[in-house]
């Protein structure tokens, strides 16, 4: 009994230390994001790496998810003759829930891993130390541009993914389930209120912060060579995914009651 209690204690302490470390990094990042000068070139580089280059995989996953939701709801709706509500189901679930979540998970896997690996190898080859000796704060130089890039690109990517997901539903409904094109478009936008899109995008901002902070934190505390870089990359992705899903559940509940 006692050893497992002790273990639980250790886990709790580690979790608190981790949360403390990530929050401190977050505060420092906000400080450096606000501090001039604005590093346009680096931010642009990161925007391309994180946002633009994630578009293909985002297209693929969102499109298929749109297809899946359409078929899944058709399976139910056809029984009660409610096919005309399929577009609404697709648009609501994609904009409120699936679009933001799926995009965040894809970016956590793709971008989170690459941030952790890049900063991690910079750490083990003393490049981060070198940055400090050159009178440059690593958070300012490495984390802030990545944060700005993710914070702006993830919402854009999500809006894009929402559209592609709705397109997936469109293809299924119009070409397979026999809905007319105009009905699909009308039923997509009829139930959709701005609130749905905004709650989705608000969550996206939280997800972007989680991905950036967890990956940078893991990368910058790497120790022990290539092995350390590997395990930090894994941890960055796993932790981001867990936190994204947990915070998604949290906000979904909040928005259910509040809005």
């Amino acid at each position: 009994m006692k050893p497992s209690l002790e273990k639980l204690g250790h886990t709790a302490v580690n979790a608190v230390v981790y949360a403390g470390g990530v929050s401190t990094l977050f505060m420092q990042t906000l400080f450096w994001v606000a501090a001039p000068p604005f590093r346009a070139r680096q931010v642009l580089d990161q925007m391309i790496k994180t946002g633009v280059n994630s578009a293909p995989i985002s297209t693929l996953t969102s499109f298929f998810i749109g297809v899946v939701i359409a078929f899944q709801s058709a399976y139910q709706m056809q029984k009660v003759g409610g096919e005309m509500y399929i577009p609404s189901l697709v648009s609501i679930s994609v904009t409120r829930e699936i679009g933001p979540l799926l995009t965040a998970l894809v970016v956590a896997g793709r971008v989170g891993a690459s941030i952790a690996a890049e900063l991690g190898s910079m750490k083990v080859t003393e490049q981060i130390d070198a940055l400090e000796t050159l009178a440059t704060h690593p958070v300012k130089y490495l984390v802030a541009p990545r944060f700005i890039a993710l914070f702006t690109m993830l919402p854009l990517l999500t809006i894009y993914a929402d559209c592609v997901g709705i397109l997936g539903g469109y293809v299924v409904s119009v070409y397979k389930l026999g809905l007319t094109s105009s009905l699909y478009i009308r039923m997509t936008f009829e139930p959709l209120v701005l609130k749905d899109i905004f709650t989705g995008l608000f969550k996206t901002l939280v997800f972007a912060s989680i991905i950036c902070m967890v990956s940078c934190y893991e990368g910058m505390k790497v120790e022990g060579g290539a092995e350390g870089v590997g395990s930090a990359t894994t941890k960055a992705v796993v932790t981001s995914i867990i936190l994204i899903i947990a915070s998604d559940a949290f906000f979904t509940v909040i928005f259910y009651f509040v809005t």
Binding site: T125, D129, A130, L131, T136, H137
Partner: protein, 268 residues
């Protein structure tokens, strides 16, 4: 003549990693304008000492004073101000591999000065020329050999013309001719620009060539410091063993055992 002022003073600094003591109440003084060479066996903590002096590592105990100011007590802004007066060559070069050689060398100028692009370019070219590497500005560090990386690292360290230079093994991995050229460069920086330098090395030829003073590090302490002649004639057997490079002596009293001698290790 008064005694030379101390540029850097390391006072009773202790540092341990995971319970293993690496620096043990280490004391060291570096006079203004001298080149102090720190010698010592691999793994004895020389690189750790340099990292303490520039403030990347914080001592567990003791303090490090630069011109009388405690480095650990500075705010991060003041620390960065101080670091602009330093140049450091890392043992593993630590070049930024996402940038070109030129951007690496000119990092400080690009980040911390308002010089024109042209002036920066000239300065980079000049620094690279000093280390015998011309026209490689556009290459990436991954395209360089180990010795070239080291020299680019050196060019980056001297590009801002710092007042204090820390060299971590400046000549290891270089061919003897290049090594001598780097030694000449260190001497020249010392003579002409009056830089205060600390150089870590195993290479005794280089040590004798560049040093104003030599300090020997052993078991986390400086066990002897003095002019090259004083070190050469030191009576301390540990110092003697190191500078003559002999495998047997007080530093290495562990004998190689055969498999049979090792307990339970017989082959049959």
């Amino acid at each position: 003549m008064e005694t030379p002022a101390d540029m850097i003073e390391v006072k009773k600094v202790a540092k341990s990693f995971r319970g293993r003591l690496v620096l043990n109440q280490l004391d060291l003084k570096v006079h203004k304008g001298e080149t102090l060479v720190v010698i010592g066996r691999s793994g004895c903590g020389k690189s750790v000492l340099l990292k303490h002096i520039i403030g990347i590592l914080k001592p567990d105990q003791g303090e490090i004073l630069v011109e009388g100011v405690n480095v650990a007590a500075l705010s991060s802004k003041q620390l960065n101000q101080l670091r602009l007066r330093f140049g450091m060559l890392f043992q593993g070069s630590a070049l930024f591999d996402s940038m070109t050689v030129g951007e690496n060398v000119g990092f400080n100028l690009i980040e911390h000065t308002t010089l024109s692009e042209r002036a920066i370019h000239e300065r980079i070219e000049e620094s690279l020329e000093l280390v015998g590497l011309k026209g490689i500005q556009e290459l990436k560090p991954s395209e360089l050999s180990g010795g070239m990386k080291k020299r680019v690292g050196l060019a980056r360290a001297i590009c801002m013309r710092p007042e204090i230079l820390l060299y971590d093994e400046p000549t290891t991995g270089l061919d003897p001719i290049m090594a001598d050229a780097i030694n000449e460069l260190i001497v020249e920086l010392h003579d002409k620009l009056k830089v205060t330098s600390i150089a870590v090395t195993h290479d005794m030829i280089s040590a004798y060539k560049v040093a104003s003073r030599i300090a020997m590090m052993y078991q986390g302490k400086i066990i002897q410091a003095g002019t090259p002649d004083q070190i050469r004639n030191a009576s301390n057997p540990i110092v003697q063993q190191f500078i003559t490079g002999s495998a047997s002596g007080p530093m290495t009293d562990i004998q190689v055992k055969s498999l049979e001698e090792t307990e339970g290790g017989s082959k049959s």
